[in-house]
Symmetry: C2
Subunit: 674 residues, 2 copies
């Protein structure tokens, strides 16, 4: 059951398209204190808290203070409170079990046992918010209801389940040809190459560098013939440059965010001084969405939206202030306080919260300060694109994922998990975010495999890929200045070929589970706690996930480990894929196990009376035969495994066509019935 409680004058987020009528009674579970702008819940020692989408720390969010404040936060350290998204949905599971969604576009704090171990406290920045309380038969039911409420998740084209190679940046057509050639030569499957900011003419959205990408439409076509999709990046800021049509048109029509006096708000991002399209103004959003046509017309079928928290390197006004102040420090004997102030001044230029109070949106004629709607910006940039794709390419699936997001955006695109690091700890963070994001409707997601910032190592790359083969978005991405990390940069080509190749063997299952999760408003990745609510230890497991109907995954995330511990809440079949091509199946009893997992092995688990369809693999998604299946299964005596297989052509949008669904049965003697 879902109840909405409304406080103050709510700014519409459109996270929820059909709002239930607001209740008049008292808010259940939470204590409301308007004076402190807070909602409080008293937790038992055994209460666990799940959700908050993209954020730091564990699956169980207890023991930290989080903030919904979309942030360009490239470190993802344990002590950060925000990442790129704002996902205000969580479920408390324990003495009472209920879900809460705070629909609120401003900055919101969730103190989940940080200040006091037994207290959960939500604090808003003002008292204009909708609070949804969801109760149900169990955690999964609560989440299912919430997912129904927020609407169906975005669907990607099937090729977007292939392996993608990215780098900030591949600088030219020839460099990309070389990346593709090496993958093809080494028989490392590949479906996409990502274009980071340098494909543009001086970082101007919807332009091309004519020197390095002189024949983009032809090049795009050439790549497609090799089954490679090029996926360009689009940034939030539009360069301020005379003669640049996007800038000039936007300015003329008043589509950019303004300062209080109505003059354009100028912030520096990649292109230098730039203006932010007012994504919260419907007309401006439509206009911005229309710009993607420039690339669609050249054959592009996928995009990623970046810098849309929005990130700000500096604002014109603030830079002047800071440089003037620094003058005061010249020719003086600075004491350490003054020195600290001086360096802090420079450090405060980028992504300064104060800058978010200095510009305004035009929301249906009302001038609204950005900070009040901060968390809606990236969402509406991606919505601009998604709505435009519906108009421009109504019959085609266009890949789209974003860095910043708010619940509601899941209807228009996926997200990647932002600019992470080549740290072992970020494999586990990748795993932790999968179920939290699924709870909030984000199904197409994944992390920058191998790590974006910092230098990777061969073993980190292999271990991370062994998780990445299970995530819908499977992309190897890394930053300027870091060690190159395309598979072919390393030595163990058999290992890379094996692990990435296995992704393609798993595609029938992964794609089927993704589509069913979309169509049924379910989670693709779930903590063990959700499926085994009566298993006390399952609730503490933070490094294994259930994947779809019948699979459990348990990746290795520690350097130099020879394997890892795995907890089985019930007997499961362990399946080991080794680089020599062998597939070893072992039935393990319920309980704790140490499983040896050499660097190039991948191990997964099948739940009893379940099956997993496998393809023969391929060098790209187009090569994978989704009908010529083999099966892994674990069927106990006298039982059968029944699997609902979703299979479509991966390009059309008739998702609900019943012809896409079929049933596969395997009996305990191994007989397969389709």
């Amino acid at each position: 059951m879902i109840s909405r409680f409304s406080y103050g004058h709510v700014i519409e987020t459109e996270a929820i398209l059909q709002k239930p009528a607001a209740e008049n009674g008292a808010l259940p579970f939470l204590t409301v204190d308007e004076a402190s702008l807070s909602l409080t819940y008293s937790m038992d020692d055994n209460d666990k808290v799940y959700g908050l989408g993209e954020n730091v720390r564990g699956i169980n969010k207890r023991g930290w203070i989080y903030q919904s404040k979309c942030s360009d936060e490239a470190q993802h350290l344990e002590d950060r409170r925000s990442l790129y998204g704002a996902h205000n949905f969580f479920v408390v599971s324990g003495k009472e079990t209920f879900g809460i969604f705070v629909d609120y576009p401003g900055i919101l704090t969730f103190d989940i046992g940080y200040t006091r171990y037994s207290e959960l406290k939500i604090t808003a920045s003002d008292w204009n918010l909708d609070v949804y309380v969801i109760t149900g038969s169990d955690v999964k039911d609560i989440i299912h209801q919430f997912r129904q409420l927020i609407g169906r998740s975005f669907v990607v084209p099937k090729w977007a389940f292939g392996y993608g190679q990215s780098r900030w940046s591949y600088m030219s057509e020839d460099e990309i040809r070389e990346v593709v050639r090496k993958h093809r030569e080494l028989q490392i499957p590949l479906d996409s190459v990502y274009l980071d900011i340098d494909y543009m003419d001086r970082y101007k959205d919807f332009t091309l560098n004519n020197e390095t990408f002189p024949d983009f439409a032809d090049f795009n076509q050439e790549m497609k013939e090799d089954h490679i999709h090029l996926v360009p990046i689009i940034d939030a800021g539009v360069k301020q440059e005379e003669g640049y049509p996007v800038y000039e048109e936007g300015l003329k029509k008043g589509y950019f965010c303004t300062k209080e006096d109505g003059s354009p708000f100028v912030a520096a991002v990649w292109p230098g001084k730039a203006l932010f399209p007012d994504m919260l103004n419907k007309e401006a959003r439509d206009w911005f969405g229309e710009q993607y046509k420039f690339l669609l017309d050249q054959g592009v079928e996928g995009f990623w939206n970046d810098m849309n928290e929005p990130a700000i390197f500096y604002t014109e006004d603030r830079l002047k202030e800071v440089l003037d102040k620094i003058d005061d420090y010249k020719d003086r004997n600075l004491d350490m306080n003054e020195f600290g102030e001086m360096t802090a001044l420079v450090g405060s230029l980028s992504n300064n919260t104060k800058d978010y109070t200095r510009f305004y949106h035009n929301i249906q004629g009302e001038k609204v300060s950005h900070d009040r709607v901060h968390n809606l910006f990236g969402y509406n940039m991606t919505r601009a694109a998604g709505e435009a794709f519906e108009r421009l390419e109504p019959d085609k699936r266009i890949l789209m994922f974003s860095r910043s997001s708010y619940i509601g955006m899941h209807r228009y695109g996926g997200i990647w998990m932002g600019d992470n690091k080549s740290w072992w700890s970020h494999i586990l963070l990748n795993l932790h975010m999968l179920p939290s994001l699924n709870m909030c409707g984000f199904l197409y997601t994944g992390a920058d495999l191998g790590g974006f910032g910092a230098d990777t190592t061969e073993d980190l790359m292999l271990r991370w890929l062994a998780l990445g083969i299970f995530t819908p978005l499977m992309r190897n991405h890394s930053a300027l200045g870091t060690r190159r990390q395309e598979a072919y940069q390393f030595e163990n080509m058999d290992g890379f070929r094996h692990i990435i190749g296995l992704r393609y063997r798993l595609l029938p299952y992964l794609y089927s589970e993704y589509m069913k999760a979309v169509l049924n408003d379910e989670m693709m990745f779930r903590p063990l706690a959700f499926d085994y609510p009566d298993d006390r230890h399952a609730k503490a497991v933070e490094d294994q996930l259930l994947l779809g109907d019948g699979m459990m995954i348990a990746p290795v995330y520690e350097q130099n480990a020879d394997g890892r511990y795995v907890y089985l809440p019930e007997s499961m079949k362990q399946v080991r894929f080794s680089a020599d091509g062998t597939v070893e199946e072992t039935i393990l009893p319920a309980g704790h196990h140490f499983v040896e997992i050499p660097l190039t092995d991948v191990v997964l688990f099948i739940r009893p009376n379940h099956l997993i369809p496998l393809s023969k693999g391929g060098q790209c998604v187009d090569e994978v035969d989704f009908e010529a299946l083999t099966f892994l299964s674990y069927v106990t005596e006298g039982n059968e495994a029944v699997y609902t297989y979703y299979h479509d052509d991966g390009y059309e949008k008739d998702y609900e066509n019943p012809a896409h669904l079929s049933e596969i049965r395997i009996s305990s003697n191994g007989t397969v019935t389709k």
Copy 2:
């Protein structure tokens, strides 16, 4: 067997006091390439590499590139290459097993399977180095030989094994009285309170703030009567201030480091502009050591040396350069490259490697550029103190530990593990560094419990303390601006009292093992791999340690965990100490176990036929009766446990007096014989 190979003109580090004669033959194991200033070893897939003292990552150092370059590095991120110390000793264990110590005071790089998984490569900055190759019967024997070579480790007074409370900073005598009062009232044991930089008069070494610490000698006496030792910090830089005697005398006598032209080198640190005493010049070192007398005379019996990498906030010359350059960025439309340059300029002011090339030491009359001997600075600052203590207080043990270090310094002081963070991952890093540091002679060590930077949580504090009770230095320390983290700031007083109290019960064992490790040149903390070399899985265990003769520890280092997995290479007795006072003993078979460990339980393991003496505890070390012992033991049928117990008064220096040693035996029927 130890062989020394000498290349070029070696700068004397005095890491080793009695050097063996240099060999003439070829260097075994390693391939020498003088052209690339490197030494290379080809590793097998199963080779493991231990050592490098204080650094990031695991016990097995394979899979990363490390640098010996003492650095003020307060994040300890996975991708860093250096921390505060330079500890150039490691052991390769595998197809060939050998130890290498590169005695070299400049910057040295250890690429241990980073660039190529199979290659270990050491690269120096110039070709003047001593390489020691050590072979032996096994890893422990190699380390034992190395430890004999570098000389006996520093011994602390026994009170330094008590719990210490620190904060940057306790600002006054009254604030410290309050800290002590609360511990005493709540019956949380305490032996020391640390004075961070604010006790001084404007950060001038060997001064006191007369307003906040008006009667320091009396206050020190008052604290001692309550069994509290005050431990002040000493910084490396001496404030440049007319009328400040330390500055004036040092300047007059030429004891400070100079620029190339002989004028004093001025760097800004806490006191603002400051000069570095030339710790590598024997006369200057003697003089600096003598300064500690100011505090010794007021009853101080312990110190910590900080900022001695040396950390530099900025140098006068470079600050001027940077501020002048920033002028050029004013009133211009900065593109992102220029903006990046501008912020990088400011970011490069602190701890800039170039500054280390701009000042000089006077080493026996020779002018030596600091960068060539960089890693010896902190070592020699602590040596200055240690040598002075021998002169000034020959009969007394004075506590000393340092932030920066080099091998050799272990004879003069311990180290703390530097400015860590309130991150769960730093509990494990704390554990990883214990054996690596022990290998290099650093026995008195520990991390800032609860974390120095960032905000801690109650559960992090409790879990970290549950490791900290086993480390010789057990200190709760945190930074200015972070959440207060004295035990009494939290709610679960029973939990804190229990865990910290257990430290005092364990003291007879911990102190005895520490002293035996010192006297016998052994490790107090060892990886399982060292004691169970034939156990394949033991070599991969990175989160358990053997502690002394008969104990194994396995702390919880993950938030919200209900316990952890523990690997037993042989049957052991699990001992569980719960907050309600119960002690539960369970014999577990060899193999893998999941052990439930609630937040306030401490679990340890006893090896077969070993015993652990326990005291009754106390509120301070003085209160602990080291003779009224009870015993935990695990004795199998027909066997006995024999323990060599070291026990002295903890203050005198007659370490080798045979009266300190006694033997305790427990038979399988529980009979104790002393």
